[in-house]
Point group: C2
Chain length 231, copies 2
């Protein structure tokens, strides 16, 4: 199913598992995907690989800063260890009006701790750190923490779960939701202000534990909601 | 549907909304319920009211300490503001071998903050505070944070959600799950060690926000799990 075309989406860290999974899922809906990586050769390699998986997809590969310049919406999908450095490097590339969808999770694994535990982030969450670091006028929401990279990557696998979206402006969250819900089987739920990312990010660590315990790729679903979540 | 009889369950704080909802839902499955409250008159009143709602149910009302002495499994369902004081008062009533299911959530509302925000608890979570405070030999798990008191209380309302259970011993979590899953529509998921309560407790604040935003009583469901979670 191809949806109406959309503006290009840049995915910073798209050579990683989550970013790559998002890239191919989004491209399959007709969204042009700009794959960013620290190293432009890796980005080009990932774009080529993605094109083989989604032959009709539109992919290009660039270093992260160049990727960010190509799109209005940017998904940040890097390990927490690299989030701060990446955002510093993007300071001159990001521009006012852009929407940054931060998917970073401060797992303790970033400092050789367990992936089932979280780090305390001074700002409260990785998303709040992102909001502090982006240039003025760049809008930040957080989302996509709980979606399994493995499931995204297996295109035959049906998705059926929620994406918990946090941000300080409803319009920004809706804009992220419109993009993310292009991917069949993902429903976005407004989970409040950006500070609520403290909880949504930590669900990743909880799910990593559940996945290991039950040998599954679990996701999150909120029950009891109505049909229209983004009127 | 009445399940095989079970030992009595004590619910500390059962004159509160969540505790009362659990009391009537559990009694409806044939479990004898010992209703505890700080004030024995209030406990007796709640037991009478519960008996009117579930005519076939077995209810008794006692002050919290007496209630705890009547049962092997104790559900602690009090506001965070009262958790520490309650556990101090139960120090001589709780006995080794008992299982305490802690449902306490350290909402910032406890200190006149927002119910969509959490307090930092020195031990990491309310459940870990409970584990520190109970006498040696009392086993502590956490559960039931995300189940809506309103939905529990409306007996006609079908439940269809998960209960995230944390604890340091699998056997303790299974024991809690066997009790909780008597309630139709609740499925228990092992979410790891007691320290993971930091995340499961904070989901309550997140759901309070979602409920207010969407005018619903949302619950949590983990997707992608198999059929047998407690073999």
């Amino acid at each position: 199913m191809t949806l109406p075309t959309t503006d290009p989406v840049a995915i910073v860290g798209a050579s990683g598992a989550l970013g790559f999974g998002l890239a191919i899922r989004l491209a399959r809906t007709g969204a042009p995907v700009v794959i960013g990586s620290r190293d432009s050769d890796r980005a080009i390699e990932a774009a080529t690989r993605a094109g083989e998986i989604v032959p009709g997809g539109s992919f290009s590969g660039h270093d992260n800063a160049s990727a960010v310049r190509e799109a209005h919406i940017v998904i940040l999908s890097v390990p927490f260890r690299n989030q701060s450095e990446t955002l510093t490097n993007l300071k001159t590339a990001l521009r006012p009006g852009q929407l940054l969808i931060d998917a970073t999770v401060p797992l303790a694994a970033a400092v050789s701790g367990k992936a089932t535990r979280m780090l305390g982030v001074w700002q409260g969450s990785a998303a709040q750190q992102a909001a502090e670091m982006v240039p003025d006028g760049v809008r930040v929401v957080s989302a996509l923490h709980t979606v399994s990279a493995a499931k995204l990557t297996e295109l035959d696998r049906a998705l059926d779960e929620d994406v918990l979206v946090c941000g300080d402006a409803r319009a920004d969250k809706r804009e992220a939701a419109v993009l993310i819900e292009r991917i069949e089987g993902l429903r976005c739920v407004d989970c409040g202000r950006l500070e609520m990312s403290r909880t949504t990010e930590s669900l990743t660590a909880l799910l990593i534990g559940v996945n290991s315990r039950y040998k599954v790729h679990a996701g999150i679903r909120l029950t009891g909601l109505g049909d229209v979540l983004w009127e």
